[in-house]
């Protein structure tokens, strides 16, 4: 549960949760024009769950089974709060932030 490990799970959770958020009609509408197409929604949902799964794997690998699950749940909460904050106050930042989260995760993975 080193800081870089926490940053890694946070970044992956954030990317995944942003995707799940954008897959929803209401939030997609707030950022782009109209609701997402069926294919796009499904792709976003798959990406979202992959991100969350990757965060779990990263947590367990870097912080082992004792603390990994706790760190994963904490990261999901922190990341979700950030997504809600952005979607409510700066919706146009959600997609760029989610994309930036990926290289941040890569750097954190290297450090962890």
């Amino acid at each position: 549960m080193t800081p870089s490990s926490v940053l890694l799970t946070l970044a992956l959770s954030f990317a995944g949760l942003s995707a799940l958020c954008l897959a929803m009609d209401r939030h997609h509408r707030a950022i782009f024009r109209g609701a997402p197409s069926r294919r796009r929604a499904r792709a976003l949902r798959v990406a979202g769950w992959c991100g969350i799964g990757a965060a779990f794997a990263a947590a367990v690998i870097t912080a082992d089974w004792n603390f990994g699950p706790v760190q994963w749940l904490g990261s999901l909460t922190g990341a979700a709060l950030l997504v809600v904050g952005l979607v409510s106050y700066r919706p146009r930042w959600v997609r760029p932030a989610a994309l930036v989260a990926l290289p941040v995760a890569a750097v954190a993975a290297f450090l962890a």
Binding site: M1, T2, P3, S5, V6, L7, L17, C21, M24, R26, H27, N66, F67, V70, Q71, L73, G74, S75, T77, G78, A80, L81, V83, V84, V87, S88
Partner: protein, 505 residues
């Protein structure tokens, strides 16, 4: 109750939440602060500089003090110093019926510490599970409230219709009630695993106070025997009444440290000076969730090891893991920030719930609120803003009260309750929107004042940067909140017709 399960649960959630809300808000806020208990204690004793003291030598200094001041005690407890806290806390019981006595010693000299007298972060910690009341009453109030909160959590989950589709939803541009409900749902659902975990594990920390019936039936009430069989305590040895010379503590501590890799935390001497005296070396919890302390027990006169406490059986391991999860001692700095954030969200869930309760019952435009609504609004104000005001005043008192004031620690506690009480009275007397803005601003100013006063009255340079930065962040958050509350004008279409809905909060 006749309406169907979901509606019954909605009713239960509303009323259980109200009944437990004020107490649990305070428990959550002080509990969240307790994640940084040692940092707070550190900040509140600025005279204390970090110093490494060898634990065995420190233990002997503590024992020397106790030999002079408590030679007839039935047990001595010597809490060993840490590098950032080079103090020895010594405790003793003159007999098992008299209350515990304590002293704080400088670990370098073994004499009473000259750092300012204060309870430090332990004040907020004791408030968290005991409300600074007599232990049994305070713990029962907190325990019962936590059980009711658990009921509110479960009923809230059942009642929340769109828990997945509304996961990320926070609408600020519709009605005030919608906004507060969304805030309540978001802070509640996003940290739901934490809320369920922390509430249940919190109840478990008080388990044998709230539910002693297992020990009553299986052990005929002999709790000490239960804890010994569970591997938490070494078995006690009765005093013989014959005096005997005890070995010095330092070599015993060193031998114990040779067996266990965790740092030493405490030395306990049972029946000091007696032929049957024992010395227990207690270590910090090893890495892992379980809140268990390895212990090595020596015969005080011969130095033989008579007992070792290590691994636990499955149920005991689960039990102590729940304790460990609640205290989160295992968390590194980054994970601790996440726990702190979740604690804040829990406090926000309760606060938004209390405000929502009042907003949903706001009378129509022009009508006056009834007594019970005015009472709820007043209590909301007095609790949600009163407690932060009390905490900020507590920190300010620590810096502003004279260092050699008699009963200083009690005075600091007095300022905490006094400031809170004053704020609560103001809130009860004027429960309107304007008071939220005014008290919110007052709270912000007090928090922003803490680092200011800190820099003026101490000379620790950048040592307290983290704490002071946190005070500024909290102050700014409160100021932002106060501004938001005062600027809210209701949804566009309602603005023309009705006055500010939020004014009724």
């Amino acid at each position: 109750m006749k309406q169907g399960f979901r509606q019954s649960m909605a009713w239960l959630h509303t009323w259980a939440g109200l009944v437990t809300g004020w107490v649990m808000f305070c428990v959550f806020v002080t509990g969240t602060a307790t994640y940084y208990r040692t940092d707070i204690s550190h900040w509140m004793r600025p005279e204390l500089r970090p110093a490494a003291v060898e634990p065995g030598i420190a233990a002997e200094r503590g024992a020397a003090y106790l030999k002079v001041h408590a030679p007839k005690a039935v047990a001595w407890y010597i809490a060993l110093p840490q590098e950032e806290r080079p103090l020895l806390d010594v405790y003793w019981f003159d007999s098992f019926d008299t209350p515990i006595r304590q002293a704080t010693l400088d670990a370098g000299t073994g004499q009473p510490s000259t750092a300012r007298a204060t309870q430090g972060g332990d004040f907020l910690y004791r408030f968290h599970f005991e409300l600074q009341m007599m232990p049994l009453i305070g713990r029962w109030i907190v325990g019962a409230s936590a059980l009711i909160l658990l009921v509110a959590l479960v009923s809230g989950i059942v009642t929340h219709r769109r828990i997945f589709s509304d996961f990320f939803t926070f609408r600020r541009d519709k009605s005030a009630q919608r906004g507060w409900l969304d805030a309540h749902n978001v802070t509640g659902v996003l940290a739901l695993p934490f809320h369920l975990m922390i509430t249940y594990t919190g109840i478990v920390t008080l388990a044998f106070t709230l539910m002693p019936w297992g020990v009553a039936s299986a052990y005929r009430g002999d709790a000490l025997r239960f804890f010994t069989e569970a591997g938490q305590n070494p078995a006690g040895r009765a005093a013989t009444g014959r005096p005997a010379e005890a070995l010095p503590l330092a070599p015993l501590m060193a031998r114990a440290q040779g067996e266990v890799s965790e740092p030493l935390e405490m030395a306990i001497v049972n029946n000091p000076g007696d032929a049957a005296a024992t010395v227990v070396a207690v270590f910090e919890e090893p890495k892992g969730l379980a809140h268990r302390h390895p212990q090595v027990v020596f015969d005080a006169t011969s130095g033989d090891v008579i007992d070792r406490l290590g691994t636990l059986k499955p149920a005991a391991h689960v039990f102590t893991s729940f304790l460990g999860l609640h205290e989160a001692h295992f968390a590194g700095p980054a994970l601790r920030v996440l726990f702190f954030l979740c604690g804040l969200m829990g406090s926000a869930t309760i606060a938004t719930g209390l405000v929502l309760w009042a907003v949903a019952r706001a009378p129509k435009a022009g009508a006056a609120p009834g007594f019970s609504l005015r009472l709820v609004r007043g209590l909301n104000l007095g609790t949600i803003l009163g407690l932060p005001i009390g905490i900020a005043a507590f920190f300010l008192a620590n810096r502003l009260l004279p260092v050699d004031l008699v009963g200083r620690a009690t005075w600091e506690g007095g300022v905490f309750f006094g400031a809170w009480g004053l704020a609560a009275l103001v809130g009860l007397a004027r429960p309107q929107a304007r008071t939220w803005r005014e008290m919110g601003t007052a709270a912000a100013v007090l928090f922003l004042g803490v680092p200011f006063v800190d820099v003026l009255t101490t000379d620790r340079g950048l040592d307290f940067l983290g704490f002071d930065a946190a005070m500024i962040a909290i102050g700014l958050l409160l100021a932002w909140g106060a501004r938001k509350v005062s600027r809210y004008r209701g949804p566009a279409r309602a603005r023309a017709a009705a006055p500010d809905n939020l004014a009724r909060a």
